[in-house]
């Protein structure tokens, strides 16, 4: 007699096959990895600079003096020294540069140097920033050897965590990646397995239905988590994405990712059951993913939306995944601290799987 049939062997064989298949499917790789990484790249480079004030130096200026030295030392200021006077005037008018400075040795008795500054109405706000920077610099230079007559200023900057754009964008992109893998991937796979009678052929083997779902689930969740890990690591090492507690934060984020993709796969099962042909899968999936993509705080904070739109955002499951991810990654929250978000996600999970059981078709 044969040895006993093993459901585990069958499940793992399916998981392996499915995982191989996912890795070779261009759409899975694009949606899970390429798109989120491109968004991260774009936003990562777009806004890492912070504020910059461009200041033109009038040709012929005296360069070796304390004022120039002081200006050079201010990070925010970029000095432009290689342009003619006429070009600088033009740039100033158009607001391409924010101010024009000329420093000269003073011929008449009085201070040793004279600084002439020209601002432009084309860039008033940056002009103002430069004005206060310059005033501050001049004050320091002029007060070097004098005692304050009224009050002494003592400044101190404590070391805080820098909140970069990446800290907002990355969790959102991670959520988006999990959403597309969960919904599109699951919907397409189960629809095409059903349509091409692959599942029917499976049914002619001793494999259990639960093994088929489980095997597929293991592969898809495994792939989604590897993708999430990859995105987190790229974000951390190339764009300084903040991981407050290091590896622990990563693990917490992966646990959240697992919950997220599990819930989103439920949507995928529903879509695969509702779709009547392959071409109806993208529109139905988009109805589920697009509003979440736009409204769930993927790109913009929900607070930026008009009041009437916010309640809608607060219904969507991705909102809570994004929210939890950001709290965990940047605020250093533990999973227990985001229990509300997790609970709402799980409630979505229960509802969607109840619906999936009703709509899912095997053949």
């Amino acid at each position: 007699m044969q040895k006993a049939y093993s459901n585990t062997t069958a499940t793992l064989a399916l998981a392996k096959a499915s995982f191989r298949s996912i890795l070779r499917s261009p759409s899975a790789v694009i949606f899970t990895l390429a798109f989120p990484l491109i968004f991260i790249l774009v936003f990562g480079f777009l806004s890492n600079g912070g504020i910059r004030v461009k200041v033109g130096i009038v040709p012929g200026s005296h360069l070796a003096n304390p004022v120039m030295k002081g200006l050079k030392e201010i990070d925010v200021i970029r000095l432009i020294t290689d342009k003619s006077a006429a070009e600088l005037e033009q740039s100033l008018k158009k607001g391409h540069i924010d101010a024009l400075v000329g420093v000269h040795k003073n011929a008449v008795p009085g201070p040793a140097y004279r600084a002439d500054v020209k601002y432009t109405s084309a860039s008033a706000d940056k002009g103002n920033i430069f004005r206060s920077l310059l005033t501050n610099l001049m004050y320091k230079l002029n007060m070097q050897n004098a005692k304050p007559s009224l009050a002494e200023l003592r400044e101190q900057t404590i070391k805080g965590r820098v909140y970069r754009t990446i800290d907002f964008i990355l969790p959102g992109q991670l959520g988006f990646s999990l959403l597309s893998t969960g919904v599109f991937g699951t919907a397409f796979v189960f629809f095409s397995l059903r349509q091409n009678l692959v599942i029917k052929r499976f049914f002619a083997t001793p494999v259990r239905r639960s093994s088929i779902v489980l095997g597929e689930g293991i592969a898809r969740i495994g792939f989604a988590l590897l993708g999430a890990l990859f995105i987190i690591l790229v974000g951390h090492f190339f764009f300084h994405f903040t991981l407050v507690h290091g590896a622990v934060t990563v693990i917490n984020m992966l646990i959240l990712s697992f919950l997220g993709v599990l819930v989103f796969m439920g949507f995928g099962f529903v879509v695969s059951g509702l779709a009547r042909s392959e071409s109806t899968i993208p529109p139905i999936s988009n109805i589920i993913t697009l509003p979440q993509f736009l409204l769930a705080g993927t790109f913009f904070s929900i607070e930026a939306f008009p009041e009437w739109l916010q309640p809608l955002s607060r219904i969507l499951p991705l909102t809570y995944l994004n929210d939890a991810m950001r709290l965990v990654a940047f605020e250093g929250a533990g999973l227990w601290d985001v229990k509300i978000q997790i609970l709402i996600l799980l409630a979505w999970g229960v509802a969607i799987y109840a619906l999936a059981v009703k709509t899912f078709k095997w053949e």
Binding site: K3, Y5, L12, A13, K16, S21, N196, V198, P206
Partner: protein
Amino acid sequence: MGEKQAMIRVTDLVKKYDDFTAVKGISFDVYEGEIFGLLGPNGAGKTTTLEIIETLRTKTSGAVHVNGFAVDEDAHAIKQIIGVQLQAAGYYPNLNLVELLELFSGLYGVRVKPMDMLAKVNLQEKAKAKYKALSGGQKQRFSIATTLINSPKIIFLDEPTTGLDPQARRNLWQLIGEIRDSGTTVVLTTHYMDEAEQLCDRVAFVERGEIIALDTPDQLIDNLLQAGFERKKEVKRANLEDVFIHLTGQEWREG
């Protein structure tokens, strides 16, 4: 020969869909080690009957036993001793033949070397190819390879040669013959009478959900002749297909 062992026993099998009765109480036995053909027009109930025996469909009434197991009680046990080739079935996307065979050996819970299975159907060179990239004949040979993974007692082939060219058909017949000779019972459906005549040990004609004749091809032909039937045209000792094969050669060609 002695008493033949019934590998499959179908008794008064009925299958109803809503308001349509696809199978109307048919009974037949398939003996161990034979090639049994189910013949008949489309919609006669061949595939439905086959899928009930394969445990893929439920029956409305009657009894079906496969190697002594009842389909409605021991489906799991039956699945382990049968191999099934479905009409127009696809395979898991993006995998090559070796990976597909690995998947199936996992599903059947057996250890086989994928290359050995491919060798049985002469597809070793296609080991790294995707199923979709195979020709019609190669696809059918691969499907048959997947039915052999669990060393089944019975294999079911649903229209295995439909759409194939004469060379591919003939070498599939050879393959099916070899499988029977190695001790496996074969049940197949076909629309080609020459195929049934060449290949099948016994055939059943199915028409509107009933079996209207069941015997060896030879005996069925003799019965007809005894009834006084005569072909209008004098039968020549070769037919057009013989001419085709003779002219184009009989080597294994990827048709």
